[in-house]
């Protein structure tokens, strides 16, 4: 019998080797070190236009909270003040700029996910970083620079230090 794990074969032989094409079709993630970023570069102005057209209806004009107005989606834009923030935004909370590219490309716009070109995602990313005061007008956003953008809230993030046992953390 092979009922003990020690007696298992090295391989059961189920499943198939994945081809390069299999992987490329799904490997859409972008890492903090930039692995996964496509070619291209973001343009703040174009990003602003796309945002107004495809995003503002849910995230508000300029991605900002308007007092008294209830939006169907979170505000995305603020200053970079983590300590005095009201609500988390890209500027005051997000620790990595690459997350913005990755998330927008995979999930947004909510009503048409997966519809944006890489160029559009670069443009929006540049615009949102700019609107949040993270980058300056004229900054270049591409596969080399995006990982290097230092997000203002980055320094606040620490790994979990809870450990169980009789200790409330």
């Amino acid at each position: 019998g092979h009922n003990s794990q020690k007696d298992w074969p090295d391989s059961f032989g189920y499943g198939k080797t994945a081809s390069k094409a299999d992987i490329i079709a799904k490997d859409i993630d972008v890492r903090p070190d930039g692995v996964g970023l496509p070619k291209g570069a973001g343009r703040i102005d174009t990003g602003a236009l796309i945002f107004a057209e495809k995003c503002a209806m849910c995230h508000g004009v300029g991605g900002k909270l308007v007092k008294g107005q209830k939006l169907p989606a979170p505000a995305l834009v603020s200053d970079t003040n983590f300590v005095k923030r009201k609500g988390n935004t890209v500027g005051n909370y997000w620790p990595y700029a690459t997350t913005l590219f990755d998330y927008v490309r995979r999930s947004m716009p909510y009503n048409a996910p997966g519809s944006l070109t890489n160029q559009e995602v670069y443009d929006i990313t540049a615009y949102l970083l700019y609107a949040n005061g993270v980058i300056k007008k004229g900054a270049t956003i591409n596969a080399q620079t995006l990982p290097k953008v230092v997000m203002p809230a980055r320094k606040y993030f620490v790994n979990d230090d809870r450990r169980g046992g009789n200790e409330v953390r």
């Binding site: 391989s11 499943g15 620790p95 909510y110 996910p113 169980g164």
Partner: protein, 387 residues
């Protein structure tokens, strides 16, 4: 009346809430392909646009009926053809592979009963809140599938790989980074729930199961695992599921701290003086429930509740405590201790530990109910900024 069953295909007669005067004199509906609930039962989830909550106050034991399992979706429930389904495993592996659903089912299988809980599972602030409203974002199932470690023998994970990315195939293509150690500990790739195929809302045909870890990491509609040497810092582990503790933000807080709640009596129930069996559920993301204590005097004295056997690791555990109520107003509370010795805190203890800017995730405070002289039961609300 004919009704479409939950399978959505079969028509069958249902009972109506106007029963015959004497049921012994009328032959009832005959056996059918799929059963229904009594028309007198109304236990349903409480849905919003993004989640739905399990009616915990209605639960008599710890397996949640699959159609009442809590939900948290980020872009609705995708429809996935099981015959086209594939799980891709690649990255820092010797041999990148893809597995069909049939492939996954052929591997040595394991069944594990455990809870899943959303890390944002906490509400308070009003007296008229039910257990479902307070913490209905947790449910329990019997999950069956293959140990992730069994699959990893096939692909040959690079010993230098420290993190892997789990990715869903919903419209959010939801992703989380998970330490590889969990993959070799107790992570599972599951395709069955409570004996049958996983329900669409819980990840049909395949989800990741990380026993004891925050709900969001148990990626549903799983399509891809990529092995790497650093976390991806996805939106769900940066913008979400992180929370302020002191002046810092805690990230990757995977384990769900131990928690309990009394579900009977609870709002909007009413009790009578005399013997009352207090009932509730307790659990810990770190292992077994070691003990549950109940206080019937607002927290001054605590006594040990009975635990329903079998007590399983990282699993909802039913507790019961027989109380004689003299009819005077009081407060009843429950407090769990898990096998690591962790004792469920009060919200004040959490505030003391995490500071005034404490964020809204991973809150597991003791829940207190006020029993008034008229027998009515009300939540004792806590003050907490974010409801």
């Amino acid at each position: 009346a004919l009704v479409q069953t939950s399978v959505g295909k079969v028509l069958q007669p249902i009972q109506t809430a106007t029963p015959p005067e004497d049921p012994t004199k009328t032959v009832g509906p005959l056996p059918s392909k799929v059963g229904t609930r009594s028309p007198f039962e109304n236990s349903v989830r409480k849905p919003s646009d993004i989640s739905s909550r399990t009616p915990l106050q209605d639960m008599y034991s710890t397996i949640t009926p699959a159609d009442l399992h809590f939900e948290r979706h980020h872009a609705g429930i995708p429809t996935i053809d099981p015959n086209k389904y594939e799980l891709l495993i690649h990255g820092m592996v010797k041999r990148p592979m893809k597995f069909s659903l049939h492939d996954l089912k052929r591997f040595p299988a394991v069944t594990r009963t455990c809870f899943i809980e959303c890390a944002g599972n906490f509400r308070t602030g009003k007296e008229d809140m039910t257990p479902q409203e307070i913490l209905g974002l947790t449910s329990q199932s019997e999950w069956t599938g293959v140990m992730l470690s069994t699959l990893l023998r096939e692909v040959g994970v690079d010993p230098k790989s420290t993190w892997f990315l789990a990715e869903g195939s919903d419209a959010a293509i939801l992703t989380r980074s998970i330490p590889v150690s969990k993959a070799f500990d107790d992570a599972m790739i599951v395709y069955a729930q409570n004996g049958e195929a996983i329900r669409p809302a819980q990840g049909y045909p395949v989800r990741l199961l990380l026993p004891g870890w925050e709900g969001n990491t148990n990626v549903k509609w799983l399509r891809r695992l990529e092995f790497g040497d650093q976390p991806w810092m996805t939106r769900e582990e940066t913008s979400k599921y992180t929370y302020q503790v002191g002046e810092k933000v805690r990230q990757f807080s995977f384990e769900m701290d131990a928690r309990s709640i009394i579900i009977y009596p609870s709002y909007p129930g009413k009790v009578e003086p005399g013997y009352i069996e207090i009932r509730g559920i307790a659990w810990s993301g770190r292992g077994k429930v070691n003990k549950v204590e109940v206080s019937t005097d607002g927290g001054k004295n605590w006594e040990i509740a009975n635990l329903q056997e079998p007590v399983l690791s990282k699993a909802h555990t039913y507790f019961r405590y027989l109380w004689h109520w003299d009819g005077r107003q009081t407060e009843i509370l429950s407090r769990v201790t898990d096998e690591t010795g962790y004792i469920q805190p009060t919200l004040q203890q959490l505030k003391d530990a995490r500071g005034p800017e404490m964020g809204g995730y991973h809150l597991n405070p003791i829940t207190a109910w006020t029993v008034k002289r008229d027998g009515s039961v009300w939540l004792k609300p806590e003050e907490f900024k974010k409801l």
